[in-house]
Symmetry: none
């Protein structure tokens, strides 16, 4: 059964019952954590019967796995896509990757909260596999960009790719997690939306600056 949403720019978005459950679960997992979220809460939020979770996904655990598969499917592709791009140098590609990543985390911030906790207490082997694949995809992509950029003399330094990745992803997540608190600290009086926009612009610049230094890139 499908729920038909209002057409957006001539596109009719169809959300299946499965997706409905998936999104409701994602939100709740982000807010309370996986274990603190009950199947009843999910089913209530998704407006379906409790038994549908087991019916569609097999179990609550498998629902989480499906969520990761669902979100990661869209995710891992863009790195390859950008790396393969013509008529851009490695610096431009790198910055494009970082920006796309930040966009994505901003857009799917609930999923990424779930992902972070799952990364820390890595209990589920299926999810570990998915995360590993994603991480290795990123590291592999960065590696290619860094090496090619060095060969092509776009970059003059060769930092450890794992650490560079840790810095990018770590900075992004901690900037996100700390957003609310940093705003309090700064005493900024502008609207939350305005503060966020400025904050993320600064974040992008900040990471750009770090990468420039790490890679020895000179803007012409």
């Amino acid at each position: 059964m499908f729920v038909t949403f209002a057409p957006v720019k001539n596109v009719i978005i169809m959300i299946s019952k499965e997706e409905n459950i998936l999104f409701a679960a994602e939100k709740l997992f982000a807010e309370k954590g996986f274990d603190a979220t009950s199947t009843r809460e999910i089913s209530t939020a998704a407006n379906v019967n409790v038994s549908m979770i087991s019916y569609y996904f097999g179990s609550k655990e498998q629902l989480l796995e499906n969520l990761f598969e669902y979100r990661m499917k869209e995710s891992t592709s863009f790195m390859k896509e950008i790396v393969a791009k013509q008529n851009l140098n490695e610096w431009e590609k790198l910055i494009m990757v970082v920006n796309r990543y930040i966009d994505r985390v901003e857009q799917l911030k609930e999923f990424y909260r779930v992902m972070q906790t799952e990364q820390i207490t890595n209990k589920n082997p299926r999810i570990n596999e998915i995360l590993k694949r994603s991480k290795l995809g990123f590291i592999g992509g960065y590696n290619e960009l860094l090496n090619k950029g060095f060969e092509n003399k776009v970059f003059t330094k060769k930092p450890k790719v794992e650490l560079a990745h840790a810095t990018i992803i770590g900075t992004v997540f901690y900037a996100f997690n700390g957003l609310k608190m940093y705003r309090e600290y700064s005493g900024n009086k502008s609207s939350e939306e305005a503060y966020k926009t400025e904050y993320f612009n600064d974040l992008r610049q900040h990471i750009k600056q770090i990468l420039k230094d790490l890679l020895g890139y000179e803007e012409k």
Copy 2:
């Protein structure tokens, strides 16, 4: 009542029942998460009766709060201590703070895993308060170091302190979380211990490098 452990270098370590529970809980919370850990598991691991958790701490939730208080009490002090130090310039102090922080995360890696998840799904207001105090302590300390260093012409740039902090802490945590996976990726064949030592040395150098660039610090 106290359990006497084997003397280590002429020091007899005394662990009270409370601490016993606290440490057992810390380990389990790190491995499985707070909600997935049952009081019965904790009591079994701590070799005490289940009811002792309520008896000593009031509830499972308050046990977690006590853990935070316990660990944070030791933690927050070192920033102030270092900032206040004489005969060190701001760069030396900054690096000392970072190294101490990495030491600490290495030493209490289980607690920091708990802390990270708690930071993401910030449900408990008491813990939020503790985390906030800690974070603001760090940011305040960094702020002072960065400003004074700039005044004293040790540093030539003035980066946003929140973002600098996000980078330091984010890099450290993601380097830690990714350790196992990075090792697999690098195909390094040396012992786990040896790899770790090298990895953390690299991490320290990496962060040092980033800070040098961010602050415009020139080693003499």
Copy 3:
């Protein structure tokens, strides 16, 4: 799902699982009191799983509330019904109410034991509300009967309705509660059933006598 009981005089009595629990609980609450009765005892007596109590009623407390609602729904109606009766004078109506009340207490003696204790330690506001409604229903009914009877010169006295009510209900309950002991005291050798029949006849006569005197009613 329904359990079909043996047909009684061509009437098939159907008891739902909810009612099964309700009746089992009523019996146990009467015997041991609410707090001394565990949900496990109730579920065992009702031949259902423990979780069914929460499933059907929400909680043990709400089970008690439901019991009151269930029993009171049938109860409160008969007063109005009798007061509204045509071709009976107020004295006849009054005696009919008292007799119906005694019948009811006899029939639902277990519930009324629960009710008495709940009336004393009135902790549950929902139950208080139900009890109050019932009590006021009775007092209101008595008030109407007494006033009309006085107007119509059936009665020649106007006693305080609250105290008259306290006497009726108090006498009934204490006669019930003391039944066993009074039998011992009287040394009556007849069968329990025979003693009870005689005892309740006496009780009815006793209350009738008191009311006659209190109201100044003269039998023609």
Copy 4:
């Protein structure tokens, strides 16, 4: 160990720890019921350690038994005392008993609340024994008064003593239990204290009236 209270009219009241616990328990049992009252609550209210309850009384159950023994010891005596009185006729004695009883219930209303519930769910055989002794004492006393009064032509009727007793005690208790609610019903605006005084005066008159009728007593 004794706590010395302020002297009242040159009398120093000494409350032992045991009595302290007894009175604290009595209050709590009246408010919440025996089973809903925890030993910890009692010990907190009595300002003693939890273990003192078991230490002094053996168990919580035995604490209740002791409470009954304590309160009943003072109670049962007055009936005999009054019956034995010279220079009063049986009617005067009867009314004296009733008034003393109401005084007592008023004074020890908390204990009588406990007693009522214990009377309904008569689980404890020791307490049953105490209650039975008390009840039989009353019935025996009433019996003597009624018989002698009839012989002496003070009374002209011979009602069943058990039912007369049920009416007296039942009316008193239900008047007490319903006090608060009756006040609401009557819409009486006078102070609670004033209402109570009037209410209990009415109650005494009411019972006197009933007894007069039941016994065929003619005031001269």
